[in-house]
Amino acid sequence: MPGTMADTHLVIFAHAALHREAWRALLSGQPGIRLAGAAGDLAAVTSFLPAGQPGAVLVDQSPPRPDLVRRLKAAVSDCGLLLLVNTYDLGEVIPLLQAGATGCISRDSPVGDLARGIIAAGRGEIVLPPPIAGRALAALARGESVGEPGAGSVADLVEPLSDREAEVLRLLAQGLTNKDMAQTLILSVRTVEAHLRSIYGKLGARSRTEAALWAVKHGHGLPE
């Protein structure tokens, strides 16, 4: 089957052995996810993740702490970090995002949503419910801690965004994952990814977060 998506390699990070086993049992048969391992300490996490493959770490720590996220991010910089939270409290979520978390998912979520979140986190997408993601991005955009892409405004772009790219950028600024954007626009995820690559190039953005923050600052996140 040419061109099929690679599975996301998942490592579960939980201190309690029973929790690790429970997550392993729940997630090992999910489509699109390959369980690489489960660990209770940082050193073991890195050994489970193969280089060059999309990877995610599911962090089960209650409450999740930004200092742990920072250490995990330093250990596995290429991987998505998805944190389990009790509630989507922005006061809790924003420090986690600033520390390097890719997203947060509620402990009340259905398994399907969790599996979907893991796959999205493995690709470095912001995983939060869209209304929360939009507010989190707006709050982050007001802060100074994240870098700015090269372009100052839409008028400064060397090459203008196409209509479709502008649409994708709007959805990005609203905090949608690639799958959500694809489903909204009825396009394949690969096509959305191609549009995003083009958008990053035109904005001079080095990451998804930079592009999203640029879009929020320039009013692209507003609903049509």
Binding site: M1, P31, G32, A115, N178, Q183, S188
Partner: protein
């Protein structure tokens, strides 16, 4: 000669690949004899980019899946929800009613419907419905039912099939070069495949080669 073959292969690779699989999805009150996990496994391994379903956009947007067949409700929709498979609802606003009739025609349709239900009940796995003798026999029974119901019903079903084909073509036009799986009632398969195959940008393949 070798270069021509290479060019041809390269052209083929850029075309949108479409596989059309048939379900006996009409019988949503019939118990499915095989494990739907087998269908999930099949589609999960195919991992199409786009999954076209005979479902109206309104039902899709409302998340109203109650009246849908179990293949959709319990297998394909949950799978697409948690993977990168994008669902494309391709049905029109008013899908035609099931064939029915008065007198002997109505009785004959009822008998044919029982045969169809039997074919579904005794299917050992999804592949037995997707292809092979059971698939072709069920297609013939559907054709006979539509014919018995009269020209108006026959035309309505033909129009519905044409609409589904056009929607798949539109999807392929908007997002060329992707892998599309169409999962519809098997009565549509034998009409959709040749319609799609006539378009140069589309390559219709068996589902195993998607």
């Amino acid at each position: 000669m070798g270069t021509n073959v290479a060019n041809h292969a390269s052209h083929d690779d850029q075309r949108t690949r479409v596989a059309v699989v048939g379900t006996l999805a009409e019988f949503h009150r019939e118990p499915i004899p095989y494990n739907l996990g087998a269908l999930v496994q099949l589609v999960s391994e195919l991992r199409p980019d786009l999954l076209c379903l005979d479902l109206t956009p309104e039902k899709w947007q409302r998340g109203d899946f109650d009246g849908l067949p179990p293949e959709y409700r319990e297998a394909l929709l949950p799978l697409s929800h948690q993977t990168d498979i994008v669902v494309v609802p391709i049905a029109g606003q008013h899908p035609p009613a099931e064939p029915s009739g008065e007198g002997w025609r109505g009785r004959a349709i009822a008998v044919l419907r029982r045969w169809l239900a039997y074919l579904q009940r005794t299917a050992p796995n999804p592949a037995a419905v997707v292809e092979g003798p059971r698939h072709h026999l069920a297609d013939l029974l559907y054709e006979a039912m539509a014919w018995l119901a009269g020209p108006e019903t026959y035309r309505a079903w033909k129009a519905h099939t044409d609409y589904l084909s056009r929607q798949v073509l539109e999807v392929a036009r908007r997002d060329p070069g992707r892998r599309i799986l169409v999962a519809v009632n098997l009565r549509h398969c034998h009409h959709i495949r040749p319609t799609l195959a006539r378009h140069p940008g589309i390559r219709v393949v068996p589902y195993t080669q998607l």
